[in-house]
Symmetry: C2
Subunit: 231 residues, 2 copies
């Protein structure tokens, strides 16, 4: 990763882009005032689970995967981070270390904002804090869904979930699937790579999807949703 000069006006202007429309004016100002912009290369870690978190990040450009890992080699992918989204919000409220890792799926441009600056703003402006908190809580709700998926669904349901989830990104990022290895898909579903490969073939045979190299075309949304629902 390398730093970018803070007076790169073009970059700052990107805060006007559609994906940032959800930011509140206060948030925009805070980020404008932040001095640090960082560029990550595909494959770089944006955050590492357990590392000290003295700042939060705002994804400006690019895609990343957020995941949890254990001590050995296992990973479980939680979500795809897209432009306009924060990374590490929990650091603001209590956590001094990141609860999860994240890795760049494409080259990424990211703003870093000091935790202390944010806390100061919240102290003076409860409404600003509520806004940040709302974003954070939404992720948290997803975590409950994730937990239920892991607890109650088996292979087919999980892979259907995964395909539907990733497929949502295809509109704005047509090459999402190409960016991912089979193992990445497997880690979203929480099943082994081998099982993923076999099950993808099975889904294709049933006409639910079309495998085209690394790309995957969802052919039958309805039925995939049904499989997801059944678990």
């Amino acid at each position: 990763m390398k730093s970018i000069s803070s007076d790169d006006k073009n970059f700052i202007c990107e805060l006007q882009a559609p994906c940032f429309q959800t930011l509140t004016p206060d948030e925009v100002n805070l980020i404008r005032g932040s001095k640090t912009q960082v560029q990550f290369r595909k494959g770089d870690n944006l955050t590492k689970q357990g590392a000290f978190a003295t700042y939060i990040m705002l994804m400006a450009k690019g895609l990343a995967i957020q995941y949890v890992e254990d001590e050995s080699t296992k990973s479980y992918n939680l979500r795809i981070i897209k432009p306009g989204e924060f990374i590490g919000l929990s650091a603001i409220f209590s956590n001094n270390t990141f609860s999860y890792s994240s890795v760049a799926l494409t080259d990424c441009q990211v703003f870093l904002v000091e935790k202390t600056a944010i806390i100061e703003t919240i102290n003076n402006n409860g409404i600003f804090g509520l806004g940040l908190m709302r974003r954070y809580t939404e992720h948290n709700n997803n975590l409950f869904d994730t937990l239920k998926t892991v607890l109650y669904k088996q292979m087919n349901g999980r892979l259907a979930d995964t395909l539907l989830y990733i497929n949502q990104f295809k509109q704005n990022f047509p090459d999402v699937f190409q960016l991912m290895a089979r193992k990445d898909i497997a880690d979203f579903a929480g099943i082994s790579t081998e099982s993923t490969v076999k099950l993808l073939k099975a889904f294709e045979k049933d006409g639910l999807i079309k495998l085209d190299g690394k790309d995957i075309k969802v052919l039958n949304n309805i039925e995939l949703e049904e499989i997801s629902r059944r678990g």
Copy 2:
């Protein structure tokens, strides 16, 4: 559940109890001002996953279990709620429905506080908001640990986790284990009741615990922690 007259001074005074020392003065005032106190009977649901959440709860007296459920019969226990702890904090920040259910393990006394009253307070007082957010974020961090447990540990590690967790409550609530059926323990570990029974016996044979009716005495903390760590 039945309402209690709001001028039950003895009850209000309990907010001075040690377990409420973590509440900020602002929080105490808010709760003092709340008009609703409710009593739940052992086995009653305090919250039901998916129900509308227009208020949050503060446990005043008693113990409850927080859990997530699927459509059928499966439950997974997340934590034991003890006096001084909030239930449903996420409702304040974004969620209009409860993400989880909770059920009284003993008779419980609970304060209900309207969401709107809290939001108003936060708007005027960012520091108060930060305090609530900190509590909320801590639960969220536990959720990451829970997810990792479910993803990466198997039976032995999970049951060891569960026993160590519940055992923490024994100091202040010596009969915690007696309050729970084997199924409750199983639902904390996320394994079947039958497997729980068999594994408890095995742990006893290895001298890790002593089974005494429903009560369980932890004999070898160190080794249980080792089993937990190994997964």
